[in-house]
Amino acid sequence: MWSFFHKLGSPPWLYGIAGSILRWLLPLTLLALIAGASWGLLFTPPDFRQGNSYRIIYIHVPAAVVALAGYYVMALAGAVSLIWKMKMADVAMKACAPVGAALTFIALVTGAIWGKPTWGTWWVWDARITSMLILLFLYLGVIALYEAYDNKAAAAKACAVLSLVGTVNIPIIYKSVDWWYSLHQPASIKFTGGSTIDPSMLYPLMLMIASFYALFTCCLLLNMRVEILRREARTNWVRKLVGA
């Protein structure tokens, strides 16, 4: 009886609750993003070594941090869907991949732009950049696998397995890339590594990281709502929602 109600009630409930969360979270996120970006861009002092180019940190680091966390969210949702066969976990996992890929892309592009004034070249095979590139490949692999399947239920399961394999591998990849870099490049190019960051720069960075996390959540919920609608297209509540 309960499980019947649960199954019946879950997608519309999730759809509704996601909508009501978005109603206040989305404006708040946008506000925090604007505040954090203008704080970082206009109100913080420049870095004494890198000058003003360091201001890219306020989008580069949050994007990289959240992109990595996003992979773990995706793998977690995949594990939940594999173990407990929860349909909504499938939906969450599928919604993570494009958002994470976009954030990884932002981190890579801003990193490249930051590299030009700092290192004098657009691309350096630095450990962190290389790891981010591999992370982008992992995300794109998940998306490609999902699109390759015609049967979307099987696609979600296959992607769940792949993202779990990725979760085991990401620490290995990161450690080996780190080690590979230390082997080939004696620490000549190093920035802010180990050095303390001044509170006047740290606070806007924290704000930006928090708002990128909120942004990830918003995008996740937005994507999930569309996916729920698509999957539940034949149900009565969607008919009411669309028809009313």
């Binding site: 992992l138 696998l145 399947y149 099987a154 296959a158 792949l162 394999v165 080996s176």
Partner: protein, 236 residues
């Protein structure tokens, strides 16, 4: 082992079953020697591309030889990964295997082992020949063989995951490469570093130990992922 015997009195034990599976796979492979030869031929051809692209200077080639040999071995492995389950999926014997009471973990290991024997191990044993062609320092050749033996085991296991995920798809070939190449990168890093260390006379034991650790991890976890992926592919 008691459960299958109780239900099917004539069923073989797990080990015997795996041995039969391995033998079947090897016999199938040996009946089509061209399929075994293809990766080796590919290896030889790509090795021949590098002098053409980089110039024939022995010094240049020797510098790049560890990386070249490892990348080519990796690509050769990648090309064969796609076919691991394809034939058995198409003729339905994979479904029979999934329905059989034998533990999937060990059966999958038998598949991967047979694939490794006819590609990775064979490639590793023949690699000294290509190493000589690329002017690799002779002292580094034992390390090259060891690192390829260990590393190609990981490659075969990880490649099996990609093959299992895409076996139900009509056009899996390119997709397998996209899915598993990122997972090959740590193996490439430590494999080529081991050979490079051996070239400059440094001890390569630590690199080989890390490759061995990766192999252990892959042996423990990859068959689980392959099994889960096979079930998904067959159900779809």
């Amino acid at each position: 082992m008691s459960a299958p015997v109780a239900i099917f009195p004539e069923a073989p034990g797990t080990l015997a079953f795996c041995a039969r599976l391995l033998r079947r796979q090897l016999v199938l492979a040996l009946r089509r020697p061209v399929d075994i030869g293809n990766p080796l031929l590919f290896f030889a051809m790509v090795v021949a591309l590098f002098p053409l692209g980089l110039g024939p200077a022995p010094g240049t080639l020797a510098t790049f030889a560890p990386g070249i040999l490892w990348i080519v071995a990796l690509l050769a492995n990648l090309l064969t990964a796609d076919n691991l389950f394809r034939g058995d999926f198409d003729d339905g014997s994979l479904e029979q295997l999934l329905l059989s009471p034998q533990p999937l973990y060990t059966s999958v290991l038998a598949y991967v082992l047979s694939q490794w024997l006819v590609t990775g191990a064979l490639l590793a044993l023949l690699s000294p020949l290509f190493a000589l062609m690329l002017n690799l320092a002779p002292g580094a050749i034992p390390t090259l063989v060891c690192s390829l033996l260990l590393g190609s085991g990981v490659l075969s296991l990880v490649g099996g995951i990609g093959a299992a995920l895409t076996v139900g798809l009509r056009r899996g070939g390119m997709l397998v490469a996209l899915l598993i190449l990122p997972f090959y990168m740590p193996v490439l890093i430590f494999g080529s570093a081991a050979v490079q260390a051996a070239v400059i006379g440094a001890p390569a034991g630590a690199h080989l130990a890390i490759l061995g650790a990766m192999l252990c991890l892959a042996l423990a976890l990859a068959p689980l992922a392959i099994g889960a992926a096979l079930r998904i592919s067959v159900d779809a």
